[in-house]
Symmetry: C2
Subunit: 203 residues, 2 copies
């Protein structure tokens, strides 16, 4: 079996299936950034990606299917966790990564659109939860290392600490519209570190 | 000039204009909670409110106009700030109010829909920002009082403190889908108080 006859949905890096997926998800992300989930038309995604409509409908089926796979790819390709040797350094790296992503004109709009879609589409909501689970799992070793170094109390909940870093930055993006500057990222990281050290995020 | 010929858009508490507004905004909120902004049809709002379509179109014009006025009403009728005598008590009251609102089946969906609408509609985004400005202004005396009592450093930014309380709760609603229990509200309030006392939220 060569790459071109791979099982639909399987991914072979560098193969035709992988290239089609990359083009389709790129086009889906572009459309999400430009117009939001409500106007994510699989046929237009196919046209923009230079791929047959049948391919898109067979493999991704619906706008929610496209968004779920986009979130899977975002989780797969997102940056590995930092390892700066200190809790403050690691949380600051995390906060700056989130701030950089949300400030990026395309990525910020993609995330806002995904959150918006999740409010009215259960499949997108599940995919979004799964994406955050993957991101939190990727960065949780930073919290475990801080516990091992004695910087944090045992039983510290890594999900709670990392959520505390991200939450104020998303709140600016989605709720108040306040700018997400480096000062906001620094404050988010330092406030989360302070609360974690004080034992507020223990299980 | 009697109540029935009041200037369109003016509000006379208890008068016909006020009653029409209350019915229309109630119907708009119900539809937002049920289906989201994308399906907020002014004609259906009129039917549900028992009001002529012309009235709705003349006074609110568009779905965004309905949402902007709904947010204005929500700001007008939201509860006054707490005055418990301590920063921790006031922030806990604030966190519990936010958690209660987001956990309410109707109100939680209304807020999620409003945030979603704001990601793709600039007029709704402006109305949402204005709503949060009003809420933050209502509660800022709690922070000023804590500064006056010597609980917080001078130059503490009330907007930053109060945003830190709300952000983790909205992050659960919109991003991770984690439950918004009383433990989450308490942690949000205590983490914000700790960071504020440490001077992380000074201007």
């Amino acid at each position: 079996m060569n790459q071109d006859t791979a099982t639909p949905g399987s991914v072979r890096p560098g193969g035709r299936t992988a290239r089609v997926r990359e083009s389709v998800l790129r086009a889906a992300g572009d459309l999400l950034a430009e117009r939001g989930f409500a106007h994510l038309d699989p046929a237009e995604v196919a046209t923009r990606a230079g791929v047959g409509k049948t391919t898109v409908y067979r493999r991704w089926r619906t706008p929610a299917g496209l968004v779920a796979d986009l979130l899977t790819e975002m989780a797969e390709t997102s940056l590995p966790h930092a390892d700066t040797g200190s809790l403050r350094g690691d949380l600051l790296a995390n906060a700056r990564l989130v701030a950089h992503t949300l400030n990026d004109p395309r990525q910020g709009r993609v995330f806002a659109s995904l959150v918006a879609a999740a409010t009215c589409d259960p499949a997108t909501a599940a995919a979004l939860r799964h994406f955050y689970d993957a991101r939190l799992a990727e960065w949780s070793p930073c919290i475990d290392a801080a516990v091992a170094r004695g910087e944090l109390p045992p039983e510290t909940d890594s999900r709670a600490v990392l959520s505390a870093v991200s939450a104020p930055l998303y709140y600016r993006l989605l709720n108040t519209g306040d700018p997400i500057g480096d000062d906001a990222a620094t404050t988010a990281a330092e406030a989360a570190a302070l609360a974690a050290r004080a034992g507020l995020f223990t299980r």
